[in-house]
């Protein structure tokens, strides 16, 4: 996989979120995957993360997105951008890439309703471990939100 191919893979992965094809997005992850949003640099066995999803937990997250929980009713619209893609390591079957993500999020509605019609911007450094070839899958997606350690309102959408 070249840098351009890795970038296209991530672009398409993110588009699945924006188009709300959540099951297709989930299908990109391996059975031993980790979808991780840390709070601080440390051992996840000792410190909490915002998200530390193994495959089972990630499936639960996707289920919840379609179960109309109050925090996703109305659901988030998102625009995900990827930039600064840098492939660190690539073999025929494994690839590690760093990149930056910018995520715009909005829950549509009447601005009188607190929490709705409020467009939020999230910036993050991300790390991907991809495996496979010719069909590639995500073994690790680790997202370092810029405001990971600040008080936040609602992170019940996908990064």
């Amino acid at each position: 996989m070249t840098r351009a191919e890795a970038e296209l893979f991530i672009i398409r992965e993110l588009r699945l979120i924006d188009e709300r094809h959540f099951d297709d997005w989930l299908a990109l992850f391996t059975p031993d995957c980790l979808y991780w949003l840390p709070i601080i640099e440390s051992d996840p066995a000792v410190e909490p993360s915002l998200i530390y999803d193994d495959r089972k937990r990630l499936e639960e997250r996707i289920f919840r997105l379609t179960a109309f929980p109050p925090a996703q009713e109305p659901g988030s619209r998102t625009v995900h951008n990827v930039s600064n893609v840098d492939v660190l390591e690539a073999t025929g079957s494994q690839l590690t890439a760093l990149c930056n993500l910018t995520v715009f999020e909005l829950r549509p509605g009447d601005p009188v309703q607190v929490g709705l019609a409020d467009q939020r911007v999230f910036a993050a450094n991300a790390e991907y471990h991809l495996v496979g070839g010719p069909d590639w899958h995500i073994r690790l997606k680790k997202v370092w939100l810029l405001n990971r350690n600040e008080p936040l309102y609602n992170l019940t959408f996908l990064f």
Partner: protein, 424 residues
């Protein structure tokens, strides 16, 4: 308006006016009369284990530093340089040899004493340096590693304040077989555009779960842990309790609700055995019950975490959820507790964000006029009352909230009117 007009109680009625969630003047009075007078929780001792360790936080609106001095003593110091008023500490937590004001370099010890003034010849030699230390909170006391402070010089002692609730704080702290725990360094932090009392009401609310957390119940059913029906039936087990001083809790017996452990294996059995050996079988059962405990006005003790309410303004609130690690148990048990905590709590969890959505819904809805009452009478007709204890007849009753607002009223009384926020 006076307090009797905003918290109304009779034999079959308990109502509070929505103004107390929306009126900025009432918020100012709450900060002055409740947060800046009563005992409030400020930090956990495990956050500042060594001399020089500190946490910077707030008491009401006032910035404070909770610091362990070189003498080992915990102090709560106003984060306010005595020269021109700047904060002397901007980090949330850390370790310091001293606190130096970034503006003109006045330097204070970790005990608050003024150590030195930059270019001191600009002041007379008899400048009373001893009187110009960081102002300490007049009263600081610790119970089971929970550090409380009061900005009032006089009042009941912390022991008196906690006399009723201490039993339940003990049950919480004894979840560790050696009776102690540490907070993790990182925490889940919420900020929502609504009044602080939405979180106060919700933390001891046994009524909303079936509705707000329907998606979580479905997740438990999908994973084979509990059926939705079975879970909803469990709402009829246990009880709620209101105590004096505004405290209260939901009390559900162990084994019923999903509880703390997503994983049931030998590590859990080993933990139970440790508790049995440490405390005996009867107390073990009590310790393992699910108890959401409110220590009025700003502290909750949950199975997995300490929750702290930090009001910023009438419609702006920070809530900290700081997970605990139990001392004396298997490392992996604590890791599992963390993973289970993350599943429900935090801004990306499968439960807590739905609660917060109810808070902002309340913020929007309470702008309606002509209907300015919140009804908190659920279960009044079926509760039993003792000396400063209100025992709910059902775990969905609102006895803890009523206790909280009786206490709210007690602190907020003492002036003619709630519209006197401009008072000195």
């Amino acid at each position: 308006m006076n307090v009797d007009e905003v918290v109304v109680e009779s034999e079959h009625d308990f109502r509070i006016r929505t103004d107390i969630y929306t009126d900025p003047d009432i918020f100012q009075l709450e900060m002055r009369r409740i947060f800046e007078r009563s005992w409030v929780y400020v930090a956990h001792e495990s956050e500042i284990p060594n001399p020089g360790d500190y946490v910077a936080t707030t008491i009401g609106r006032q910035p404070v530093i909770v610091a362990r001095g070189d003498d080992g003593q915990v102090r709560v110091l106003l984060n306010h340089c005595r020269h021109r008023g700047s904060v002397v500490c901007r980090l949330e937590r850390g370790h310091a040899e001293h606190f130096r004001c970034p503006y003109h370099g006045w330097t204070y010890g970790t005990d608050g004493a003024l150590l030195g003034i930059a270019q001191a010849t600009g002041y007379p030699e008899d400048m009373p340096l001893a009187d110009l230390g960081l102002a300490p909170a007049p009263r600081v006391a610790v119970y089971r590693c929970l550090i409380f402070a009061s900005l009032a010089a006089d009042g009941e002692s912390l022991d008196e304040r906690l006399s009723q609730v201490a039993t339940y704080i003990d049950l919480w702290a004894d979840r560790s077989p050696v009776g102690s725990m540490v907070l993790t360094s990182a925490a889940h932090k919420f900020r929502y555009a609504g009044n602080w009392k939405f979180q106060l009401d919700n933390g001891v609310d046994g009524y909303h779960g079936n509705y707000v957390h329907e998606s979580f119940l479905q997740i438990l059913e999908r994973s084979g842990e509990k059926t939705v029906r079975g879970y909803k039936d469990l709402r009829s087990t246990g009880s709620v309790v209101g105590l004096s001083h505004g405290d209260g809790f939901i009390d559900r017996p162990y084994g019923g609700m999903a509880g703390q452990f997503e994983y049931h294996d030998s590590r859990l059995s080993r933990y139970h055995e440790q508790l049995r050996q440490a405390y005996g079988p009867e107390r073990m059962q009590a310790i393992l019950g699910q108890r959401n405990l409110l220590v009025f006005p700003n502290l909750f003790l949950f199975e997995s975490h300490i929750r702290v309410i930090r009001p910023l303004s009438v419609n702006d609130t920070i809530v900290l959820m700081q997970p605990t690690r139990l001392n004396g148990v298997n490392h992996e048990l604590n890791s599992q507790r963390l993973r289970t905590h993350e599943r429900f709590f935090g801004p990306a969890g499968f439960g807590a964000p739905d609660d917060v959505e109810m808070f902002v819904n309340g913020e929007t809805g309470m702008k309606a006029r002509g209907v300015e009452w919140v009804i908190l009478s659920r279960g009044l007709h079926r509760e039993s009352r003792g000396d400063g204890v209100w025992l709910g007849g059902h775990s969905t009753d609102e006895a803890p909230q009523r206790s909280a607002y009786r206490e709210w009223k007690r602190w907020m009384a003492g002036a003619e009117s709630l519209a006197s926020a401009g008072e000195a």
